[in-house]
Amino acid sequence: MLFLSFRIGADRYVLDAAQVERVLPLLEAKAVPGLPPAVLGLLDYHGRAVPLIDVCLLATGRPTAGMMSSRVILVRYADEAGRTETLALCAEQATGTIERDPADFVATGVEAGTPAYLGPVAADEEGLVQWVRASALLTPELRAMLFQPAGAPP
């Protein structure tokens, strides 16, 4: 199974490649007032407005550095209600893929106090990598704020 790797600070994290729609260079988002700081704004993807979440800011409070290796990762997944959601994440060092068996990942044992999007971890020659669950990145309030039901627009 293929995973897309990226970094938050010095630590490595992975996303399920099956959920990744596309990897893009760092883009300027359209700012939307009234949203939390971790939501940088909206991106235009083939005429569709996709919310851009700064994973680095969400996890550590520090914005993603404006490097060439910092990328926007477009993910598509199904939420609890079975609806498909598309979300843009910006992260540092999103330049490689890792081929691993999902069974290699084991629970950390400290999930109770950590954010919901952090999953199990696996070890390789460079150290530990942690699985980030894209579907758990948004809180229900944020999800309600970003993905309103159809027919709501004025």
């Binding site: 293929l2 990897v23 490689g96």
Partner: protein
């Protein structure tokens, strides 16, 4: 007793003697007065009275016998003669009565005398009455009338005589007893006076001799130079005062001798120091003499050196002229050097412009590298997306995934290479910047060197000018040097005189050293003679 002075003791002794002697003299005087009075009384009263009464008795006996003779007389001639005798006898009696009356002193005496006179008067009257009678008649009358009266008068007279005799005896006894008393008094007075004088003499002797002996002992001790003892007399008399004075004198002497001893030691030390100083001075004077001689030699050398310097100055003058010529040559050389430096500066400017071109080219390379980097990045994204798509295609995308991975590896290599190129270009750029800076610094140095060269040229022309101006000064210096040589010779002469004076000083210091030695001996004598005094600790 201890506070009585010797003077008071002597006075008291004499006073006591005087009192005793006065008592003795008074007693003796009293005895003499009493004796004199008694003797006077015996002489003036008792003896005359006794004499008068005895003579009266004789006269009365005469009168009695005359009366009887008258009675026996027959002739009228004889009768007249006898009457005449009676009358004369009566006158004698009157005179004796008067005489006796003058010696009357006591009342009893006077009463006896009155009785006698009355009896006499009565007798005279009776006698006058019977005298004309004669013969038997007269005899009868005498017998009957005159005899009793005779008897009575005689008894009266006898009483008077006895009284006067008794008085004389009494006076004599009084005199004898008074004289005896006076003898006893004188004897007792003599004994008391003798005892008193012995006692007073002993006390005075003790009061004088004992302290005097102690004083003598202390004086004897002090004569041997021992001042450690002091006189302590219990009595506060003249000797006490003398002892105080003596102790004060001894203290003063002790202090004085102590001072003298200290002074002697100090004098000795000072003399030793003076001797040492004198010897040092002698050595110093000798050194001065030697040094003066050396200085004289040095002055002579200076004179010789000055003469040499005069010669050297002539040579220096020649050298200076030569130097002026050389400086002229140096000036032209510097002008050439300046022109060369100007060329160097121009060349440096050309190098700087070339370096600017190099820097620009390096900047172009940088832009290209950026472009290549962007392409590599895009390729990386592309390969990522391709790999993801191939994963999604599952079994069918396997080969494509391999291709995508290979592409991504190439893109990564490209990125690494571009990173290397970027680093190299950055190195080149920094090297070029350093070169530009170095060239700037170099041209600045050259410019400054050119200024220095110009300055050196100016200084060289000044040197030439000054060297040319030196020649007359060299002549002046020459004259000065000659004067200096003469002065040095004069100094040398003066120093030889000074050396002689120093030699004389050495001799006089030797004499003073001898004098100090003598002084030292005298001081030692003084110290040894003063050291025999022993003082209180």
């Amino acid at each position: 007793m201890t506070n009585v002075t010797i003077r008071q003791r002597i006075l008291a002794s004499f006073l006591a003697m005087l009192v005793v002697l006065s008592g003795v003299a008074g007693v003796a005087y009293y005895g003499f007065v009493v004796t004199e009075r008694e003797a006077d009384m015996v002489e003036n009263q008792t003896v005359p009275a006794l004499s008068a009464s005895l003579r009266m008795m004789a006269v009365w006996t005469e009168a009695h016998s005359l009366l009887r003779a008258l009675a026996l007389e027959e002739t009228s001639t004889g009768r007249d003669q006898t009457l005449e005798l009676i009358r004369r006898n009566r006158a004698t009696l009157d005179g004796l009565i008067d005489e006796y009356e003058a010696t009357l002193d006591t009342e009893a005496d006077r009463r006896a005398f009155e009785a006698l006179r009355n009896a006499t008067d009565a007798y005279v009257a009776t006698e006058e009455a019977i005298l004309p009678r004669s013969g038997t008649d007269l005899r009868d009358a005498i017998r009957s009338q005159m005899e009793p009266q005779f008897t009575r008068i005689r008894a009266q007279l006898a009483e008077t005589v006895a009284f006067n005799q008794k008085q004389a005896t009494r006076s004599t006894q009084t005199i004898v007893s008074v004289v005896g008393m006076a003898e006893i008094g004188l004897l007792a007075g003599f004994v008391i006076a003798l005892g008193l004088s012995v006692l007073c003499g002993y006390l005075l002797f003790r009061a004088v001799a004992v302290p005097l002996a102690r004083l003598m002992a202390i004086v004897q001790l002090m004569r041997t130079g021992d001042f450690s003892e002091r006189l302590a007399l219990p009595a506060r008399d003249e000797f006490g005062t003398l002892a105080d004075g003596f102790n004060a004198m001894a203290n003063e002497l002790t202090t004085l001798i102590g001072h003298i001893q200290k002074s002697g030691i100090q004098v000795n030390t000072s003399i030793t120091e003076i001797a040492a100083t004198s010897k040092e001075q002698q050595a110093t004077a000798s050194e001065i003499a030697a040094t003066t001689t050396e200085i004289g030699a040095t002055a002579k050398e200076i004179a010789a050196t000055s003469n040499e310097l005069v010669r050297t100055m002539g040579e220096v003058s020649n050298v200076a002229e030569h130097a002026a010529t050389l400086a002229g040559g140096g000036q032209t050389g510097l002008a050439r050097m300046e022109a060369t430096m100007r060329h160097v500066m121009e060349a440096a400017a050309a190098i700087n412009s070339r370096l600017a071109v190099l820097s620009e080219k390096a900047g172009n390379i940088n832009q290209m590298v950026t472009t290549i980097t962007k392409v590599a990045d895009q390729t990386n994204i592309l390969s990522l997306n391709a790999a993801i798509e191939a994963e999604k295609a599952g079994q069918y995308g396997r080969g494509f995934a391999v291709v995508a991975t290979e592409i991504r590896r190439l893109a990564d290599q490209t990125a690494a290479s571009t990173y290397d190129i970027e680093q190299m270009v950055k190195d080149i750029q920094s090297a070029v910047a350093a070169g530009v800076m170095g060239m700037d610094k170099f041209s600045e140095e050259v410019r400054r060197g050119m200024l220095d060269v110009q300055e050196v040229g100016g200084q060289l022309s000044q040197i030439i000018h000054q060297v040319q101006g030196l020649v007359p000064r060299f002549e002046l210096a020459n004259e000065g040097m000659q004067a200096q040589a003469t002065g040095a010779e004069q100094i040398s002469e003066a120093l030889s005189q000074l050396s002689e004076a120093a030699q004389q000083t050495v001799e006089s210091l030797q004499q003073s050293t001898a004098a100090i030695d003598e002084l030292n001996q005298v001081s030692s004598g003084l110290r040894s003679s003063i050291s025999r005094f022993r003082l209180r600790a």
